[in-house]
């Protein structure tokens, strides 16, 4: 039985995390795998920290990822990568992080500090760390709302799905007017090789 893959997608409410995790999960379904995905709605979506867990493999029971078993953290915001570090497996984990930093009001009010050297905080444990300017690439793709698709493109290099699967699901799942920009965004992300 092949091992279940555990992907953590994190960021800030409103960044399109739920759409991205839906696309990933539908790809797994398209590849005839069992898949579960979990996230929390409600209070946590008002600009707060948001996370979505996606798990796929031959048979998936729990929708939750156990700490220490994550294969990839895909972070839409830098500090939101670090928050979930404990979920990554000790050996062979990967983190893909957007360069975007969103400062919460707690930092401006002096109630907390924004973490420094986030990249280094992963590299020092030997984690494969990929930093992506998803904002820049999404603008290059023609629509700043395609940041999440850029990041999925980067993620696609670490998941054993066919490119056709990704393209098929993206076409099906994004708003019709944005299909072209999203496919460009996916390609730009996918061309980033670690």
């Amino acid at each position: 039985m092949s091992k279940t893959k555990n992907i953590i997608i994190s960021g800030v409410g409103g960044q399109g995390i739920l759409t991205a995790s839906e696309i990933l999960a539908l790809c797994a379904m398209e590849e005839n795998l069992d898949v579960k995905k979990s996230e929390v709605h409600g209070m946590s979506q008002r600009g707060g920290s948001v996370v979505s867990f996606v798990r796929f493999g031959e048979k998936v029971y729990s929708p939750l990822i156990e700490k220490g078993s994550g294969d990839v953290i895909l972070a839409f915001e830098k500090a939101e990568a670090l928050r979930w570090r404990g979920y990554l497996k000790k050996e062979g984990g990967v983190v893909i992080m957007n360069t975007l930093e969103i400062y919460p009001t707690t930092v401006s009010l002096g109630l907390d500090t924004y973490p420094e050297n986030v990249e280094e905080e992963f590299k020092k444990y030997g984690v494969k760390t990929i930093v992506v300017d998803a904002v820049g690439l999404s603008i290059k793709a023609g629509d700043p709302r395609t940041q999440n698709t850029v990041l999925l493109g980067v993620l696609s290099n670490f998941i054993d799905f066919s490119v056709d699967t990704w393209i098929k699901v993206i076409k099906y799942r994004v708003p019709p007017k944005t299909v072209e920009a999203n496919l460009r965004a996916f390609e730009l992300g996918r061309s980033i090789k670690a």
Binding site: V12, G13, E22, A25, L26, M29, D34, V35, K36, K37, S38, E39, V40, H41, G42, M43, S44, Q45, R46, G47, G48, S49, V60, Y61, S62, P63, L64, E66, K67, G68, S69, A79, E80, A81, L82, R83, W84, R85, G86, Y87, L88, K89, K90, I102, Y103, P104, T105, T106, V107, S108, L109, L111, D112, T113, Y114, P115, E121, Y125, V127, P144
Partner: protein
């Protein structure tokens, strides 16, 4: 067979539709909201948002008595509101199948308590069904309607956040049309006068005995034999977490967990060397099992508090943890009022006025957090209004003139109206601010009686808050636009210093509504002129608590991705350092 990728809530809607449900009612509440939203999409189903869970329950029960298959859904605390009809419904029984969905919130992701509503099933003496994932939600809800009709009982169908809001693959089927059952007038069943209720109580006890037998044979309960050294007794979401940690163990998996299947338990215990109970929150199964005389442990391993997860089970039962990297230091990122949110204007002013604020349940509970810290109490739906009156009767006018109740429009309709009548009737002097943003915002924009639209999106009458307040006996009703900061502050001062009941209607639509977003797109965004900004020394705009504004290198910075171009920051900047984009050159 067609496969879909569905959340537990979507699966509940789909399964109910397939089961031929005719009527579905609800009041929105996380994590239950999407059940009604999804069932409303099926044209064969009459679906409605109700003003609160009690009315929703009673409408659904009425429909059942009239012969329809009916369903009501709510979050766990909603069942407290609907507890009165729940206990009566157990006695009356049903005509058409009647399913009550309670979506509990272990871990309190979006709730004020962690109550375990499985206890309501036992308390009200109705069967309890606990699915473990989306597929089971879909399959079990069809079974729930059958059980309801077969045993003449409402059925409590219990979900939790991780079932409601997790998605999985579901094999779906077509709808089976079920004709309405014949309606018969049966006073001794449906009128629970004491004389009738006495007889009905005997019926309830006999029904429970029959359900107890049925629990041993229902396909919802099963033994999954594996390694016989360890047997795990579990139900609901706990099953899937436990399966991850103990893939090879034997399981007594309960999908129908009250009344408890004693014979099945005996068979299971005879087949395993050692057994434990794995369940989230309350020791519900454990108490049943111990009462039957079996000394099986559960809460010895699994905490009472917080959400269950595979790692909690590994730690609790195996006393080990996976090797892993240390937790990273995230940045505190609590939820916040949105950029352009109407509530910002109210809470900024209440902070400026140093008011004592009795609060309520909704997005605006975030007024309790920094930078406003402008809330003193939040108890339950509607309590803002009555808590304020409690403050008034306890401490008198000198205190009340600095106190306001803050309640959302949907929450006011839910449970605030009776509180306002309480104030007027008992000669109180409280000021009540109704935050009228036209919608139930927190749960993702559901219409309510003040919205002018119903669950199907059709136009309907709009509740008039001013007329309602006046009819109750409130003579002073103010209208304010909370984004006019100075004017709002002036009116709040005036309202609070008036020694009689006052209602302030704060009127501005939720900034996330489509038409408001459209307006925001057309407005130019705001930018900071760095040379004019006094930054850390001023903090004027930071104190608005707008998520778009932060301090970068000692100066205010407005994130263009977040700014919606409202002018609140311009109104509070004493140095004219904030202008429209393009203006700063």
């Amino acid at each position: 067979m067609e496969k879909k990728f569905l959340s537990g809530n979507e699966a509940a809607a789909r399964g109910a539709w397939e089961a031929g449900v005719h009527v579905a009612t609800a009041y929105p509440g996380t994590p239950s909201t999407e059940i009604l939203e999804n069932v409303a999409k099926f044209k064969e189903v009459y679906a409605q948002w109700s003003p609160n869970e009690k009315t929703a329950f009673e409408v659904a029960l009425g429909a059942s008595i009239a012969g329809a298959r009916a369903m009501v859904s709510m979050k766990h605390v909603g069942l407290n509101v609907a507890a009165d009809p729940l206990f009566s419904a157990s006695y009356t029984g049903v005509n058409g199948g009647f399913v009550i969905i309670s979506a509990d919130d272990p871990g309190m992701h979006s709730s004020q308590n962690e109550q375990d509503n499985r206890r309501y099933a036992k308390f009200a003496k109705i069967p309890l069904i606990e699915p473990s994932d989306s597929q089971e939600v879909h399959d079990f809800i069809k079974e729930a309607f059958e059980i309801s009709e077969k045993f003449d009982t409402p059925v409590l169908f219990r979900l939790t956040t991780r079932i409601s809001h997790s998605k999985g693959i579901v094999e779906v089927e077509d709808r089976k049309e079920i004709p309405l059952k014949e309606y018969k007038k049966i006073p001794e069943k449906y009128i629970i006068l004491p004389a009738h209720a006495k007889k009905r109580h005997y019926f309830v006890e006999e029904r429970t005995l029959k359900l107890k037998e049925y629990a041993n044979t229902t396909p919802l309960n099963k033994i999954e034999w594996g390694d016989r050294k360890l047997g795990i007794i579990t139900s609901g979401i706990s099953y899937v977490h436990a399966r991850e940690i103990f893939p090879d163990a034997s399981f007594l998996k309960l999908g129908f967990s009250w009344p408890f299947p004693e014979k099945l338990l005996k068979e299971f215990l005879n087949g395993v060397e050692r057994a434990i109970i794995i369940e989230e929150n309350e020791p519900f199964l454990e108490e049943e099992i111990k009462f039957l005389g079996y000394n099986i442990e559960g809460k010895k391993f699994i905490p009472l508090v917080d959400e269950l997860s595979p790692e909690v089970i590994r730690k609790g039962v195996l006393k080990e943890e996976l090797e892993r990297l240390p937790d990273g230091k995230g940045v505190k990122r609590p939820p916040q009022l949105c950029p352009g949110c109407p509530h910002i204007g109210i809470f900024y002013n209440l902070w400026r006025l140093r008011a004592t604020v009795t609060g309520d349940i909704g997005c605006y509970t975030l007024g309790a957090l920094p930078p406003y810290n402008a809330m003193d109490t939040t108890i339950c739906m509607g309590a803002a209004v009555t808590n304020a009156h409690g403050f008034d009767v306890a401490r008198g006018w000198d205190f009340t003139k600095k106190t306001v109740a803050v309640i959302g429009d949907s929450t006011f309709v839910h449970s605030g109206i009776t509180g306002l009548a309480d104030i007027v009737y008992n000669k109180g002097n409280s000021t009540v601010i109704i935050l009228d943003n036209r919608i139930t915002a927190m749960t993702g924009h559901q219409f309510h009686p003040g919205s002018g639209k119903n669950a199907k999106g059709e136009e309907t009458k709009t509740l008039d808050f001013e007329k309602l307040a006046k009819a109750i006996g409130v003579d002073k009703v103010y209208h304010v636009d909370p984004h006019k900061l100075r004017e709002t502050r002036k009116i709040l001062r005036e309202a609070m210093s008036t020694p009689e009941p006052v209602v302030v209607l704060s009127e501005r639509p939720c900034a996330l509504l489509p038409e408001e977003r459209k307006k925001a797109k057309q407005r130019p965004k705001k930018v900071v002129i760095k040379d004019k900004c006094k930054g850390e020394k001023c903090m004027g705009c930071i104190k608005l608590g707008c998520p778009a504004i932060s301090l970068r290198d000692g100066k205010a910075y407005i994130e263009p991705l977040l700014c919606v171009g409202c002018d609140l920051c311009q109104q509070v900047c004493p140095f004219d350092a904030i202008v429209e984009e393009g203006e700063n050159v």
